[in-house]
């Protein structure tokens, strides 16, 4: 208690010291940056999960061959979650003497729990709605065309007569780009009464749930710990389409990266300030030790002072982080879209804890070593403490930085790249600075007087110059990464979805319609047309063994074995596909070949040389697995799990799948095209593209916000670096002024000193940022052909060097005005 009071008193007396204020400001900033970013990231992530939930129709769910057991429903009720049940199955519909196989979804009245069901009436007016009531059904455009029906007319489905209450325009579809068969949505009770869901049916049941995030998480934890029924699997937002998942992952990585860099910058400022504080306290500690204070007590006093500073600063940072996050939500909802309304508290508290860890990690080493100051130092300042070649204590900040990188990146790869890049920058900066200092000693004698003074000043503060150059390089590197590399990565990401990315798909195109469709499409401004054959078939055997007699470890295999499969063929390997085993079949292999995706290899434990048998229409085909492909499912191209060779598959009954780009606003002309080719089913993927672009934009906005914090942190680093040498500079300036140095001479010397320091820091930072950017772009963000913008980096680095010089000059303005009388007063 006594010690604490002493520490508090010491802090009150020393509060005027710039290094203590920088220390406190850095801690506040670290907590604010980490807190606001973590809160924003949590909110954005929740927002993204919410939009993923819209694709599923609920926050979470279970998909199973039978209706989910009661325990799952009871648990959901216990956690106060909303519940909806659905079942999907193929069924044949009859109308006007015509039959059509439909993908039917039967759902309870409150479906969907998340997202919207978009319906159109007979006049084409759209509205949002819920599942149909008993006796009603919704059909999509393809189903209406195929059965020659209109809204309001009856049809037979599952032996019951149902009225078409609306056209189904859009439904939460799990993020599927398009369904194979035309779709229908009916009432779940109707389906049950019609016996469509009984024993032996091919229905897939879904239990969908929605509610408060915490409750959903609790249910999820419970479900993951429970043994799921055979063939059942959890439906989670993360499992929605691969394209969206890649976007989520990248977005999270970006945000965490930016927060991390801000925090590390604050850490550097803390380290510099702590170093300065320790130097200033050396004589005081020597005196205390000479007067008989034990080392332990000195250490207690120093740590007490640090603690007394840290706790209020962390609390202030916490409050600011919460306040700013709330403010961002209130004022920036347009920037971030519809964010969830509850302010998450945990990220800010975690940030405060991390801030204190940063302070402890970066400030402890010099303070702990300070306690070791020899009492003899009261007589002779050069005898301060034992000099160690390698001080294990200085591993602490490195470990804290690594821990922070690890906790924020939650990816070993990203953590490794960042840590290696920053370490590389630190090493190169230290080496370059050492080289500069070595050169300074050699160039100085013959150089211009002002430059000579500047070089001499750098050389005089050798250790400090090395620390300053390294700290500034790291700071600038972090800033360049944020200001130039991150936007370039975002741009690269955006360019993966250029404006002319195919945004429409046309299904069901017949052979004789291809030329006409192509002309008609060109007439209404469509381009980027690509047509692929599409056959629908079923897997019947693997290596001659009938599929229904085989047992597979992978739960998904049975599901896929039951499904209608999409088969296509091509003579050349499509873009965004990579053969990782076997050889691409080409156009004319000797026997029928199929190239499979890695997922198929894993599900069915296949290898090159195995034989797959398919039924397509009335015919069948045995094809040898010729190659295994890795497919980039995040691209917006049409890709297939199974690709046959054209020589053997060309005669299978098929239609064509066309993808094309149509500028926005041309949808009306497309409606005419749709009427001319009424068998066609047109799918608009603009909304999906928009969603990905929206994520990119949200992340871009968030990064810009965070950049502000990083700039502040960068300014703190520079302030700390200047403060670290301020006392020395003042003394030096007073001496030089006494010896007759002109103020201008001091200014030019300072300008030269800081320009050189800025140049070293700027160039090292540019190199580091370019290297890290290149590495991040390829290894973490997987942006093909990403090259960091080199010239902007070089110019920004030179600019940053110039700014360091200007700020250095401003910072030393006071110093050049030091009255020379000061020296006489000092004795």
């Amino acid at each position: 208690m006594k010690m604490l009071l002493l520490a508090l008193r010491s802090l009150r007396r020393e509060w005027h010291l710039p290094e203590l204020r920088t220390l406190a400001a850095s801690l506040v900033l670290a907590v604010v940056a980490l807190g606001v970013v973590a809160t924003l990231a949590t909110r954005i992530e929740r927002g993204m999960l919410a939009s993923a939930a819209e694709l599923i129709g609920g926050d979470i769910g279970v998909s199973s061959p039978q209706a989910a057991p009661d325990a799952f429903v009871d648990k959901a009720r216990q956690y106060d979650l909303q519940i909806a049940r659905t079942a999907s199955f193929p069924s044949v519909a009859f109308a006007h003497q015509q039959t059509q196989l439909l993908d039917v979804l039967a759902s309870g009245p409150n479906y969907p729990l998340r997202g919207t069901l978009e319906l159109a009436d007979a006049a084409g007016h759209t509205r949002k709605g819920h599942a149909p009531t008993a006796g009603e059904v919704y059909l999509d455009h393809r189903a209406l065309v195929a059965l020659n029906l209109e809204v309001g007319q009856p049809l037979q489905l599952g032996g019951r007569e149902l009225t078409i209450a609306a056209e189904l325009v859009r439904q939460p579809d799990g993020g599927q780009l398009f369904a194979l068969a035309p779709r229908a949505l009916m009432n779940l009770a109707d389906a049950e009464q019609a016996g469509l869901l009984g024993v032996g049916s091919r229905a897939r049941h879904q239990l969908l749930l929605a509610g408060a995030p915490d409750a959903v998480q609790r249910w999820r934890d419970w479900a993951q710990a429970t043994t799921l029924p055979q063939g059942a699997q959890l439906i989670t937002p993360e499992q929605t389409q691969e394209r969206m998942r890649t976007s989520f992952d990248r977005a999270g990585a970006f945000l965490r990266l930016t927060a991390l860099l801000s925090a590390l910058l604050a850490g550097i400022a803390i380290a510099l300030s702590a170093q300065r504080y320790a130097r200033r306290k050396t004589s005081e500690v020597a005196l205390l030790r000479a007067l008989g204070t034990s080392r332990r007590r000195v250490l207690g006093l120093l740590l007490g002072t640090l603690g007394a500073l840290a706790l209020p600063a962390a609390a202030l940072g916490l409050l600011l982080a919460l306040g700013l996050s709330q403010l961002a939500w209130l004022f920036a909802s347009q920037l971030f879209g519809s964010l969830p309304t509850v302010l998450p508290l945990a990220p800010s508290f975690a940030a405060a804890a991390m801030g204190i860890a940063v302070l402890a990690g970066f400030a402890l080493p010099p303070l702990v070593r300070l306690a070791e100051v020899s009492p003899v130092a009261v007589f002779r300042q050069s005898v301060t403490r034992r000099v160690r070649r390698f001080d294990v204590l200085y591993l602490i900040p490195a470990l804290v930085a690594l821990g922070l990188i690890w906790s924020q990146s939650s990816s070993l790869q990203l953590a490794g790249i960042l840590a290696a890049s920053l370490l590389g920058v630190a090493v190169v900066a230290a080496l370059l600075a050492a080289l500069l200092l070595w050169l300074a000693r050699r160039i100085a004698p013959g150089a211009h007087p002002a430059l000579r003074l500047g070089l001499a000043a750098l050389a005089r503060r050798r250790t400090l110059s090395l620390i300053q150059a390294t700290a500034l390089s790291l700071g600038l590197c972090a800033l360049l990464l944020l200001a130039i590399v991150a936007p370039a990565l975002l741009q690269g990401w955006r360019q993966e979805l250029p404006a002319d990315t195919p945004n429409w798909f046309a299904l069901n195109l017949q052979d004789d319609q291809r030329t006409g469709f192509e002309h008609a499409l060109a007439g209404i401004g469509g381009d980027q047309l690509n047509m692929l054959p599409l056959a629908v078939g079923k897997l019947t055997a693997i290596n001659g063994a009938p599929i229904d007699q085989l047992h597979f470890e992978d739960e998904r295999a049975k599901d896929w074995a039951d499904r209608q499969l999409r088969l296509s063929w091509a003579d050349a390997l499509p873009p965004s596909n990579q053969v990782i085993a076997g050889q691409w079949q080409g156009a004319h292999p000797a026997q029928a070949e199929v190239s499979i995706d890695t997922m198929w290899r894993d599900m069915f434990a296949l290898k090159v040389g195995d034989t797959l048998s398919f039924n397509v229409g009335e015919g069948s085909l045995d094809a040898k697995v010729g190659s295994i492909r890795k497919v980039d499912w995040s691209s917006f191209r049409v890709n297939f799990f199974l690709l046959l060779d054209p020589a053997h598959a060309g005669n299978l009954p098929h239609t064509w799948l066309a993808s094309f780009h149509l500028p926005r606003g041309h949808a009306t002309q497309l409606a005419q095209l749709s009427r001319d080719y009424s068998n066609l089913s047109l799918v608009d993927v603009d909304s999906l593209l928009d969603r990905v672009r929206e994520i990119v934009d949200r992340v871009g906005n968030a990064v810009r916000w965070i950049l502000g914090f990083s700039l502040l942190a960068g300014a703190l680093v520079l302030a700390a670096a200047l403060a670290a040498s301020a006392a020395e500079r003042r003394h030096e300036a007073a001496l030089l002024r006494t010896l007759g140095a002109r103020r201008n001479q001091l200014r030019v010397a300072a300008a030269c000193e800081f320009a050189l320091l800025g140049l070293v820091a700027g160039l090292t930072a540019a190199l580091g940022a370019a290297g890290a950017g290149l590495w991040l772009g390829h290894a973490v963000f997987h942006i093909e052909g990403f090259v960091p913008p080199l010239w902007p980096l070089v110019f920004a680095a030179l600019g940053a060097g110039f700014v360091v010089m200007l700020l250095g000059l401003v910072g030393t303005r006071k110093v050049t005005r030091t009255p020379p009388m000061r020296l006489l007063r000092e004795g």
Binding site: P449, L453, E732, A741, G827
Partner: protein
């Protein structure tokens, strides 16, 4: 300007006060003196008598509130700080009680400083000669922390003399040294004063040291004590 009959340094009715927590505090009042070229001159007095303030004013480190000071014919109170710095660089050398060597520079580099400020090309050679003159040529690569107090003060003296100043101001030059070392340092100062015909103005409360000077004045509460007389020649 080098006429030996004309005073090199003269102060006329110089007063200086500073504002403190209890209002204005007069540090110097109506001080007048004249110092001739090559002369050694001591300012003595108790602590707080205004000795260091007077030294600072005479060296052009500060300006008086009233009165005038002339250094080598230049009226210091009419010059701005830059012009006074220029004058100091050309005419003045300093020796301080706490030596004020830059810790990160070697002895030789410390001595080179005034020459570097002047832009002299053969700075290193002249600095070596100056260190040789104070008997420290073997220590030229040592840093201040590796030198004893007496050695540090000898480096400071070499720095004060290296650019050939016309007047050397010494503020308690032996204050931080033991008697024997202090004696040696004083011998050095007076030898340089004699050999280079450099005017020596020193502030001290050491009566023996003051007695070695050609003349001295005593200050008491900022005023010259009237019984001051010329010492032995």
């Amino acid at each position: 300007m080098s006429d030996s009959s004309r005073p090199l340094l003269q102060a006329c009715d110089v007063s200086k006060s500073v504002s403190g927590p209890e209002g204005r505090l007069e540090i110097l009042s109506q001080v007048s003196l004249q110092i001739r070229p090559g002369e050694s001159f001591a300012i003595v007095g108790a602590s707080g008598s205004g000795k260091t303030t007077l030294l600072g004013l005479l060296a052009g480190l500060d300006t008086p509130d009233t009165g005038s000071i002339e250094l080598d014919g230049h009226a210091l109170q009419q010059l701005d700080e830059e012009a006074r710095a220029d004058l100091r660089r050309r005419l003045v050398g300093f020796v301080f009680q706490s030596f004020h060597l830059l810790p990160a520079l070697t002895a030789e580099e410390n001595v080179m400083l005034p020459l570097e400020l002047e832009g002299v090309s053969a700075a290193r050679e002249r600095a070596r000669a100056a260190l040789d003159a104070v008997g420290l040529s073997s220590r030229r690569r040592h840093y201040p922390a590796q030198l004893s107090g007496g050695e540090q003060q000898r480096v400071a003296i070499a720095r004060a003399f290296v650019h050939g100043p016309r007047v050397l101001f010494a503020d308690e030059p032996t204050g931080n040294l033991d008697q024997r070392t202090g004696h040696h340092v004083c011998d050095l100062l007076f030898a340089l004063n004699r050999d280079h015909h450099t005017t020596l103005v020193l502030v001290t409360h050491d009566a023996t040291l003051a007695a070695r000077c050609d003349r001295r004045i005593e200050l008491e509460e900022g005023r010259v004590v009237p019984h001051d007389v010329s010492a032995h020649a």
